[in-house]
């Protein structure tokens, strides 16, 4: 150690990259968990192709996992990686643009063959020169041959041997960043408990990778990243989809209801369904439906029957759910729909992130069909916004859509685990007096109707998709429809009383107000802080409450000379704001690359707008 070149850093971003079959997601996850356990704050970004096994060795088949960790609050996985672990030439090509200038590239030199250069479409056999990476620290490591050598005494087939390559890389990186191996060892032992030979192989290669780092330390920089000073408490690492699932579970427990999820698998939302299907111990009824429509319809049925009922999906599935969502608006049943957004339209970019379902969520139904829309902004706060979505649905008898996205859903961060008593109460609007009950009799304040469910005696009634009068009878009366349409809209607007006012990061007035919503928060706040540190009068207004908007939105906006709305679409929130908070000029920063913003590009755009 003493002899090694030691670099002390505030934060480091590492990108693990290889073929989609190389186990890079697992490698990255294990390294992230290890770092989080050490007390670093982390933020992760899995970036993988939509094909399960794209052609090996090609740029299209590269699967990456980036993690940033540090001694201060980490809000993004990092624009650019300090260290790239590349299992083949294609991985170098795919990631060259995402490297910090002068960064370190650790690569499997055994993969540098004419065949692989050709597959990655290099013209020469010097990928570094071709990609202008001459100034980078390049560490060739014979990962494949070392792995083979390491396992030669174990009687394993070639395929199983090659599957251990990622552990060699992981061991090496753990040495470089001074991470202990015990957590990873525990994981391997548990995962391969029934295959002791495979467990032994992985452990051996992991250690050999670690030792290799020690042995070549003259050539390898070692990094030290101190733990982050954070809030006291019990922590765990959590991704957005799991946090969403658990937030819904917490809401069910708080409300004293069973949780029902009717859902259909769709990338990148499937994990929400899986996480809840796993929780039979907490009484979750999970129903894997035959399609997206049945997903929401079974959910509506379960809500009719008195459950906290939820469905999860992504853009294309959300489109299929539109008609049924309209039914839940009309029937005024409490359901939560989670939309983990991905790149669209159509099948689009299934594994990539985007924020382009906002207008679909707000307006994508027939008729005047208002509902509540919330958006989570970090992997862990998906828990709280899922919880709140359920609370609003149950207390206001209204469907709620929670928007997250692929970046949040798959990204993870350490999270201080709350206790249940930290969460506000949830009081479903269960009917209590059969004498007074009418299906559409409303609370005069909130306009919410009461919830009476089959099995409750004395409340037998009929609801449905047809317009009704207060007593629940079908009504084609023009006045009745006019009034009910207004009531359904007003009911959603009244939810404003349940949500906090818009708070700014920064001063309440200034030259530029940066506006964002949902999953871009980490990059937004980093870029705004960068501007603030440079003395610029810039503040951030980041929205979690889309419909209704916080009460004070117009007032907050009015105090800034310029407003810029940043989002991963062509400007959907900006057009919504133009409608809801009119009379202001909204600049826009938009990105449609299936990738999160980078802090760098945001800062650059803000500077341009301020100068304009």
């Amino acid at each position: 150690m003493k002899d090694a070149k030691v670099i002390e850093l505030e934060e480091v971003a590492i990108r693990f990259s290889g073929d989609s079959g190389d186990g890079m997601q697992l490698t990255g996850t294990l390294f992230s968990d290890t770092s989080a356990l050490l007390g670093n704050d982390i933020s992760t970004f899995p970036d993988y192709p939509s094909e399960i096994r794209a052609p090996q060795g090609t740029v299209g088949g590269v699967s990456g996992f980036q993690v940033q960790f540090g001694k201060k609050k980490i809000t993004t996985p990092g624009d650019l990686a300090h260290v790239l672990v590349a299992m083949n030439p294609a991985a170098i090509k795919a990631n060259a643009a995402f490297m910090n200038p002068g960064g370190t590239i650790i690569f499997d030199v055994d993969s540098f063959s004419d065949k692989n250069f050709e597959k990655a479409q290099f013209k020469t056999n010097d990928p570094f020169a071709e990609l202008n990476l001459e100034d980078y620290i390049k560490i060739p490591v014979p990962i494949t041959s070392m792995t083979k050598e390491s396992l030669k005494d174990l009687e394993l087939d070639n395929k199983s041997v090659l599957r251990c390559k990622n552990m060699f890389a992981l061991g090496l990186i753990c040495w470089m960043f001074d991470r202990p191996l015990d957590y990873i060892e525990g994981f391997i032992q548990k995962k391969f408990g029934k295959k002791p030979v495979i467990a032994e192989a992985n452990l051996k290669v992991l250690h050999d990778g670690y030792n290799y780092g020690m042995n070549i330390q003259q050539a390898t920089p070692q990094y030290i990243v101190h733990p982050a000073p954070i809030e006291k408490g019990i922590y765990r690492n959590i991704n957005g989809n799991l946090a969403t699932a658990w937030g819904l579970l917490a809401a069910a427990e708080k409300a004293g209801l069973d949780l029902f999820i009717g859902s259909y698998p769709i990338t990148p939302a499937t994990d929400v369904l899986q996480a809840l299907a796993e929780r039979k111990d907490l009484g979750v009824k999970s129903f894997q439906a035959e399609d997206e429509i049945a997903g929401i319809c079974t959910t509506i049925g379960a809500a009719f029957a008195g459950h906290l009922a939820v469905t999860s999906t992504s853009g294309p599935g959300f489109a299929l759910k539109s008609e049924a969502l309209g039914l839940s608006v009309m029937a005024e049943l409490p359901i939560v729909v989670v939309n983990v957004q991905r790149g669209g339209p159509s099948t689009g970019l299934p594994t990539k992130t985007e924020q382009s379902d906002l207008l679909q969520t707000l307006y994508g139904r027939n008729g005047e069909s208002p509902l509540v829309v919330l958006a989570a902004s970090t992997p862990s706060d998906c828990f709280y916004y899922a919880y709140l979505s359920a609370k609003i649905a149950l207390e206001r008898m209204v469907p709620v859509v929670l928007l997250t996205d692929g970046f949040l859903g798959n990204g993870s961060e350490p999270w201080r685990v709350p206790t249940m008593d930290e969460l506000p109460p949830i009081t479903p609007r269960k009917a209590t007096n059969p004498e007074l009950f009418k299906p559409y009799r409303r609370d005069p304040e909130t306009l919410a109707r009461e919830w009476a469910v089959p099995g409750m005696d004395g409340y037998q009634h009929r609801i449905g998709g047809l317009e009704k009068n207060e007593a629940g009878a079908v009504s084609h009366d023009p006045e009745n429809h006019h009034i009910n349409t207004e009531i359904r809209a007003a009911k959603v607007e009244k939810v404003v009383d349940m949500i906090p006012e818009l708070e700014l990061v920064g001063e309440t007035e200034g030259d530029l107000l940066v506006v964002g919503w949902g999953g871009t928060y980490g990059h937004m706040i980093s870029s705004v802080r960068t501007m603030q540190d440079a003395g610029k009068k810039v503040s951030l207004a980041h929205f979690n409450y889309i419909k209704p908007l916080p009460k004070n939105t117009a007032e907050v906006f009015s105090k800034f000379k310029k407003i810029v709305v940043c989002e991963l679409n062509l400007g959907q929130f900006a057009s919504y704001l133009r409608d809801r908070v009119p009379g202001l000029h909204y600049y826009q920063v938009n990105k449609m690359k299936g990738l999160p913003f980078s802090v760098h590009e945001l800062v650059e755009n803000f500077e341009k707008i301020m100068e304009a």
Partner: protein
């Protein structure tokens, strides 16, 4: 002794029934109400779920819990209702357009899962609510408003679809034969699992008389074969015709001719898992065969909503996590309690979440 002493009237709502005069739906509704009264189950535990179509107005005319949903989705919504609360008695009211066209996918998957619902499929072989377009059960060549030169497609035979989806219960009835419809509905109500009852229903306006050839009471005994469990499949004015299997095919024979006796006639076993024969019975069509009426198939199989309940109970019996606080702190967690650590700021502090 019954617990509740309900009559059909207890299941009628105050809403004015608005089907066309003479519509077959009236008779079916009467049969359903009578069946529900006879089931002797608390009124509060009934839920009637429908889709879209004339028949789907049904819940409004019932005094039970009811949900008039959207086109084709009643089966999916009812699946959610029953899975959430298996203690309920859930009826699905649907038609040939609702369940076999727009809702075909939900229909087959409901049947496959064997959720304990009673589904009444009103088959009038036409779209009535939209005033006379052909449906998936309209016969090939039939002229309707959207097939002015005759349809060029074959019809679904609903029972085939049910059995092809591994259905555990299928029965057929005729709207005008209220007594028999009631018997069939009572059997359907008893069955554990998805019971599909196809009721041949007459649309007086857009497809009047479509089932007349089968339904004509004058020829009932000749044209309909009333299936009875454990009894030979016999029909005819003189009860002298029956079914036998010959070279793997059903055949109509006359008792007393060619040495055929009553003992040669096939005995009906709806409780046996004999898909081939049961599909053959479903397929019987005039003029070669009488149309089979009654319970064709009623077999036992695991019931989805019960299995869901059981699975939760099984997992819970051995569970390590019993509540959210335990879940939140389970697995890989670590404690942060250093000197330079601050007190946690709770997410919901200082915010109005009224």
């Amino acid at each position: 002794m019954t617990k509740f002493n309900y009559t059909a009237k207890d299941f009628k709502s105050a809403a004015e029934v608005r089907w066309c005069p003479g519509c077959g739906d009236y008779a079916i509704m009467n049969a359903v109400q009578k069946t529900m009264a006879d089931m002797d189950i608390a009124h509060k535990d009934f839920a009637v779920i429908s889709g879209i179509g004339c028949s789907s107005r049904f819940p409004y005319y019932m005094s039970t819990y009811g949900f008039h949903t959207i086109h084709g989705r009643a089966t999916a919504i009812a699946s959610g209702v029953k899975s959430a609360n298996p203690a309920l008695t859930v009826w699905v009211i649907t038609g040939d357009g609702d369940s076999l066209a727009i809702g075909g996918n939900h229909f087959i998957h409901l049947v496959r899962r064997n959720i304990d619902l009673n589904l009444i499929l009103f088959n009038n072989k036409i779209y009535g609510l939209t005033k006379g377009q052909y449906s998936p059960t309209t016969d090939r060549g039939f002229i309707t408003k959207t097939s002015p030169f005759g349809t060029i497609e074959d019809a679904f035979v609903p029972g085939q679809l049910v059995l092809g989806s591994r259905g555990t219960f299928f029965a057929r009835a005729l709207d005008s034969n209220v007594k028999h419809t009631q018997e069939v509905l009572a059997d359907a109500a008893q069955h554990k699992g998805t019971s599909v009852v196809e009721v041949l229903q007459n649309c007086v306006i857009f497809n009047d008389g479509i089932h007349d050839y089968v339904a004509d009471p004058k020829f009932r005994a000749e044209r309909q074969l009333f299936l009875k469990k454990g009894e030979p499949m016999i029909f005819g004015e003189q009860a002298d015709k029956g079914l036998i299997l010959e070279n793997g095919h059903l055949k109509v024979v006359k008792i007393g001719e060619n040495g055929i006796t009553r003992d040669n006639i096939l005995v009906h076993h709806p409780e046996e898992d004999n898909l081939g024969l049961q599909v053959a019975i479903i397929n019987m069509a005039l003029p070669e065969f009488p149309v089979a009426m009654g319970v064709v198939r009623s077999v036992e199989a695991p019931v989805y909503d019960q299995e869901m309940k059981k699975q939760i109970e099984t997992v819970q019996a051995k569970r390590r996590v019993t509540c959210m606080d335990e879940l939140l702190q389970s697995g890989n967690t670590w404690t942060v309690d250093g000197e330079n650590c601050s007190e946690p700021v709770k997410f919901f502090d200082n915010k109005c979440f009224g």
